[in-house]
Amino acid sequence: MIKNITVGQYIPGDSFIHNLDPRIKIIFTAFFVILLFMVNKLSGYIFIMAFLVLSIYISRIPLKFVFRGLKPIVFIIFITILANALFTPGEVIWSYGIISITKEGLWSALLMGLRLIFLIIGTSLLTFTTSPIMLTDGIEYLLKPFRRIGVPAHEIAMMMTIALRFIPTLFEETEKIMKAQMARGADFESGNFIKRIKNLIPILIPLFINAFRRADELALAMESRCYRGGENRTRMKELKFTAKDISALLIMFAFAVVIILNRFWKW
């Protein structure tokens, strides 16, 4: 049933990567993405692959989950590879009618495919090892400098936290309402497309009404406990840089240097 959907993809653990400060992990991931797009040679990709394999090993995330994360984008990867293979001009190695495949095309298809796969694996490593709450905490800190230009960092983080908190509740409620309507003879499994959409109304209306009621109650509860946003607010879990985070920063620096140097290599 829908109950089993886990929110985000967080897999609890106690590895080096799990215990890093979320801010470091977010910055690292952002740099990783930028650097990934700077790579233009196979050797660079081999280096990144080695780096990812090592990270996955250290984080002790089961490989099963890593590959499962790739499933939704298989189609996009396929299209990218196809487009690159077919529409890159260069030395033709095979052709049939108007379709022709070039050597350069195959090469760029391979690199593009790898780039996408590494992009997904690299970024999902962040969500695998960081709980949603830590993630929003990290985002809040990182957005703080932008407060001067009017970015409501705390509010954004609070909204994300609340949204994440209520996803499982909403799933549970959907299931409950579905059962209640099924008990009144509602049928969600048969009929054509339009009929099926119509059949959702008895679920959606109560769901929305309950969500708004809940939001009202939550707002009231927060206000009655004098919640008033970010200014001077202390937190239960302060984020702290430790020796681990410093070493992660150093690794990130070394990683960046290698990738940038890689651009100047011959192969």
Partner: protein
């Protein structure tokens, strides 16, 4: 037999890391026209058990036979089953979605294939009157603008309109004030008498179960650990307390009095009967 459960085992999320055994080899029989109560601590499996009674859940192992229909059989007609078994969920007012009370109450009827306008109105009227709501003044009102108690009554009417032969109620009085609670309980009694429905009441309130039911099933950790008439079941105060349940206040009072050597009857049903009994003892003591 109205409901027969044979060696029912139910496992949530079988085969995943979240696997939990919610019911463990449960067997029970509920007779035609009986009112039974199911009590148990949160998570004891009572809601899981009753959700089998109208096919919302299917057994992992074992059989559930409702009016001769075996719900473990994949081919049975669920619509037919749900016509026979009405299910009132906890906080039923949260399932309301229509614009008018009339439409809301006829939702179930339409789903089970009633579409003749006159017949529908007749049924809705009858159902609304069962819960003391005047048809003419309520039918065109928006159910969302009613009071909490009235919403609950509309939601209950929407089930009663389907004229089920078996009525299952999961905490029908949760969140109501004492007035609303007494009203619902008296209606349950009335409906039971009028239609001789089989009624299954799942409840946390020992008082409710004590006053209302013919037989009680006590559940703990997915098993039925005790079964019998409320008078007999609630004599086991210590056992019930050990599994996180209590006994009705009147039973507590009786047990205390008897503990002090005051010989009141141990089968009084209400505080009024107990008062009569105390009076009887008192008068007997005065006139030797």
């Amino acid at each position: 037999m109205s409901i027969v459960v044979k060696n029912l085992t139910f496992i949530y999320n079988e085969g995943s890391p979240f696997e939990t055994k919610a019911l463990d080899d449960v067997s029970m029989e509920i007779k035609e026209g009986e009112i039974v109560g199911i009590i148990g601590h949160t998570g004891s499996g009572k809601s899981t058990l009753v959700q089998h009674f109208n096919g919302l859940l299917r057994p992992t192992k074992g059989n559930v036979i409702i009016k001769g229909m075996d719900i473990s059989d994949k081919r049975i007609n669920l619509r037919e089953l749900r016509k026979k078994v009405g299910f009132i969920f906890q906080y039923p007012e949260y399932q309301i979605f229509e614009e008018t009370v009339l439409k809301e109450v006829s939702f179930g009827l339409k789903n089970i294939g009633m579409d003749d306008e006159r017949g529908l109105q007749e049924r809705v009227k009858e159902a609304l009157e069962l819960v003391d709501l005047d048809y003419e003044s309520f039918k065109d009102k928006s159910p969302f603008l009613l009071s909490g108690g009235e919403k609950r009554r509309v939601a209950i009417a929407s089930i009663l309109a389907m004229k089920p032969e078996i009525l299952i109620m999961d905490e029908p009085t949760a969140g109501l004030d004492p007035g609303g609670r007494n009203f619902i309980l008296s209606k349950i009694r009335e409906i039971h008498k009028k239609y001789s429905m089989t009624i299954v009441l799942v409840s946390h309130s020992m008082e409710e179960v004590y006053e209302l039911t013919d037989r009680v099933f006590v559940m703990d950790k997915g098993r039925i650990v005790m079964e019998g008439s409320p008078k007999i079941v609630f004599k086991n105060q210590e056992f019930l307390e050990s599994i996180g349940l209590g006994v009705p206040q009147v039973v507590q009072l009786v047990n205390r009095l008897r503990g002090k050597g005051i010989d009141v009857g141990d089968d009084v049903l209400s505080i009024y009967e107990l008062a009569k009994d105390i009076k009887r003892l008192y008068l007997r003591g005065r006139k030797p």
